[in-house]
């Protein structure tokens, strides 16, 4: 699961964003640089979710992400820079995080307590696959030990 996909997912029960936790494996797989796609995605991203995700996967790109997303008024200047062939540190960081960083194993936590498992790179967001720690406290303890 790329961090791009993570940004589009919500909890199927509570419709809230999901926090990446207990990451067991991350892959970095380089792909072609896609500045125009990244620029297009900026206004749609849940920026704080992306920043939190970058921290969860211990990415070295965290520092290149500003606190807040570039505002719509800043985008034309970024577009211009891209058209003239400039490499921007912000877009390099987004390229690495959104398109090249894959969470292979881990969990997606809803603020209401339940979590969903990412196994073999595929997140399972089915409501009946939710793990509810309050109901299965012992199971969760096992998962946490495994994940760390």
């Amino acid at each position: 699961m790329r961090l791009l996909t993570h940004n589009l997912l919500i909890c199927p029960v509570h419709k809230k964003p999901l926090a990446i936790r207990n990451v067991s494996a991350v892959d970095i797989i380089p792909v072609e640089y896609q500045p125009r796609f990244l620029l297009r995605m900026i206004p749609r991203l849940d920026w704080s979710l992306l920043r939190a995700a970058a921290v969860s996967v211990e990415s070295d790109c965290v520092d290149a992400l500003p606190e807040a997303a570039p505002s719509p008024s800043e985008l034309p200047a970024l577009e211009k820079a891209v058209e003239s062939g400039d490499r921007l540190p912000l877009l390099d960081a987004l390229q690495r995080l959104l398109l090249e960083t894959h969470v292979v194993g881990g969990q997606l936590h809803c603020e209401h307590g339940e979590f969903y498992v990412i196994a073999d790179g595929i997140p399972n967001l089915l409501a009946d696959a939710a793990v509810n720690p309050s109901e299965t406290a012992s199971e969760q303890a096992a998962c946490t030990t495994e994940g760390s």
């Binding site: 996909t5 796609f37 749609r44 595929i122």
Partner: protein, 224 residues
Amino acid sequence: MRGSVPSVREIETLLSQLPWRQFQSPRVHLEQYTTPVHLAARIAHHVALCIDEDERRSVQAVDLGTGTGILALALCLAGLNHVLGVDVDSEALELARANAAALWELCPQSVGAVLEFAAVDVQPNSLALAPKSFDVAVLNPPFGTRQRSADIAFLDVACHLSRRFVYSLHKSSTRSYLSRRLERFGCTAQVYARLRFDLPATYVFHRERAVDIDVDLWQIEVKR
């Protein structure tokens, strides 16, 4: 895969070499059947042509009910570079991923496609995708023969997720009903093509070896 859209034939030829073009043990209640490769190729080709060439590589598409991923892969071959395939059947997604790996071997230019899979229930109440996250939603929904209006639930989800276009297959016999329904939603919809779905005898209750069904490929422009 830059530039012009490959021909339907080229897409179809590649798809027909994939290992998992059928479900291993299809589930009746989900009305699982695989999109025939020639249909997947035609749909993907049409979708690609509807999007400006310079935009094609930067749109985000979703394939709802992707199954073994045939349509999602067809979209990648047609030049859409960002595709998410979702399905309620996580075992089918394993096959989809095997198909993707096989396709990258067959067609190394497509390796760069940002193709993802996630287990998500394509139902309004249990959907795990944020609204309006996609430019294009493509779907080959269950036709609603086992469970009434299953295709309508899928279509509602597609309109909820897409910002611009929805491409969907429905039985031609439901054309006038769908047309009224979409009009009520304020969507601009048209039947782009009438196609023949050669549904092979997937289930034991299918007595004949193969049945041809007339289906419409709808193009729906979502109200902003």
